[in-house]
Amino acid sequence: MESLSNKKKVLEQKPLNFAERMYLPAIVKGLGTTMSHFFKKSSTIRYPEQVREFSINWRGMHSLKRDEEGKERCTACGLCALSCPAEAITMIAAERKPEEKDLYREEKYAAVYEINMLRCIFCGLCEEACPKEAIYLDGPIVPSDYLRKDFIYGKDKLVEAPLEVK
């Protein structure tokens, strides 16, 4: 059969000649190769102290955003929970009281908002589903922990830090 790709290589199996049977020339060459690597810079990143630069479309830990006036954007519509393929998001909605006007942007807000980080697959569908631009996966790597219950992140860990008062 004619080779169409021209990538086929016919390897000839010749018996080893004397130098090859001695192994030594090949071994010396190999030792040279490994020694050249001895002086190369190592490509290791010492992780907890050094962090690799993330790509621009990296999806890490979620954060619940605030608007320009520092009010929480989330209106507890539940679209993120619906869109979540891993069933990681739950929330309880509540109605905003008049005195909480500075805290929440809409009349309805999420009193409880929980993401189970062990269930989350970091697909970013919640981010896409959100009509209020309230959730983004722009955080760091989710840290490790010992207990399953500690991986259920509430609003204390998710909501952005409040805006600094000028």
Binding site: R21, M22, Y23, L24, I27, G30, L31, T33, T34, M35, H37, F38, K40, K41, S42, S43, T44, R46
Partner: protein
């Protein structure tokens, strides 16, 4: 026999024992570091600065592990195996001359535990005994993989001992003695045996790689075929002993190679130092030089391990019986002829 003699020897034995254990300990660390550097990595660097406490951590881990003796294992042999491996590895250092005689209070104090006149044979005997540790361990485990590995180790060691013995004969023809002390003394200054016996040295070195079960001849513990080899069933410090014995063996064979072929404690300009400073300084400097040579060999062992893939079993046997033994015999014949010619004229 005066008391000073006994105390001196006792001290020397203790120091040597401690040194070989410490070197074996840090060889495990060095091995991981060398491997890492050769593979563009960093290696262990968490325990202490640059990871220098890693061997201690490993040791503690080994001691703390649960000790498992398989139900159908032969209990006594199972225990004797690692002990024998360790014992044979440790007693090899006894005949190696670690330096020139020190003069303390006008008395000569040799830096060698014992200068038996068959030192070379003693080393050979101890090294070949070492394989019993592996064999007994492999047999007592009552595991097919261990047994296969033990058989491999035995056949490999026996095959390579032949070539090793033959390669050393050419050296003995040259030196006319079996005492390691005299062999080293003959290589005074720059007259290292490797310059007169390069082929013999290469054969000897390849054989010592095989004898210590190091890559590329580490068939007895080849993971892809035999799980862990002869120590598959071992755990805790018994496993630690086997791994440790390998590193001590490496240290001892490096010392033997340095002694037989690379002039032992000799270095160029040693007479100059002895006359200019003091004989004791020259002797201690010689010991330092010997250790540098040993470390260079240990590094070479590691360098080779992370370069060459493992030999196949038939390749191993072909290399041993069809290449090394004929070469060693040719080396003896050539050495004999040259010595006869040189003596005649």
């Amino acid at each position: 026999m005066d008391i000073n003699y006994v105390i001196g020897k006792f001290l020397l034995v203790t120091i040597l024992f401690a040194i070989s254990l410490v070197i074996a300990m840090y060889s495990t660390y060095a091995e991981r570091k060398v491997a890492a550097f050769l593979q563009d990595r960093l290696g262990p660097d968490r325990a202490g600065p640059f990871g220098i406490l890693q061997p201690l951590a490993d040791g503690v881990k080994m001691f703390m592990k649960e000790e498992i003796v398989p139900t159908n294992a032969s209990k006594w042999l199972f225990m004797i195996g690692p002990g024998l491996a360790m014992l044979c590895a440790c007693i090899g250092t006894a005949v190696i001359p670690w330096g020139q005689d020190l003069t303390i209070n006008g008395k000569a104090f040799p830096l060698q535990v014992t200068d038996i006149n068959v030192g070379v044979l003693y080393i050979f005997g101890v090294v070949s005994l070492g394989v019993y540790g592996v064999m007994i361990g492999g047999w007592a485990s009552n595991n097919k993989y261990s047994l296969l590995s033990a058989i491999r180790a035995a056949s490999q060691n026996i095959s390579y001992e032949v070539a090793m013995g033959l390669s050393i004969i050419a050296l003995l023809v040259m030196t006319n003695t079996l005492s390691l002390k005299e062999i080293v003394a003959q290589q005074h200054g720059w007259h290292w045996n490797v310059l007169y016996q390069p082929l013999g040295f290469i054969i000897f070195m390849v054989c010592s790689f095989a004898e210590t079960n190091r890559a590329p001849f580490d068939l007895p513990e080849c993971e892809t075929e035999l799980i862990g080899g002869y120590h598959t069933e071992y755990s805790s410090m018994k496993l630690g002993f086997y791994l440790f014995a390998e590193y001590i063996n490496m240290f001892v064979s490096s010392a033997v190679m340095a002694t037989l072929y690379f002039g032992g404690y000799n270095y160029p300009g040693m007479d100059w130092v002895a006359t200019l400073v003091s004989p004791n300084t020259a002797a201690l400097l010689g010991t330092l030089v010997l250790f540098l040579k040993i470390f260079a060999f240990i590094f070479f062992f590691m360098w080779v391990r992370w370069t060459i893939p493992r030999f196949r079993y038939d390749q191993l046997m072909n290399l041993g019986w069809k290449t090394l033994i004929p070469l060693a015999i040719a080396n003896i014949v050539i050495t004999g002829i040259v010595i006869a010619v040189v003596n005649k004229f």
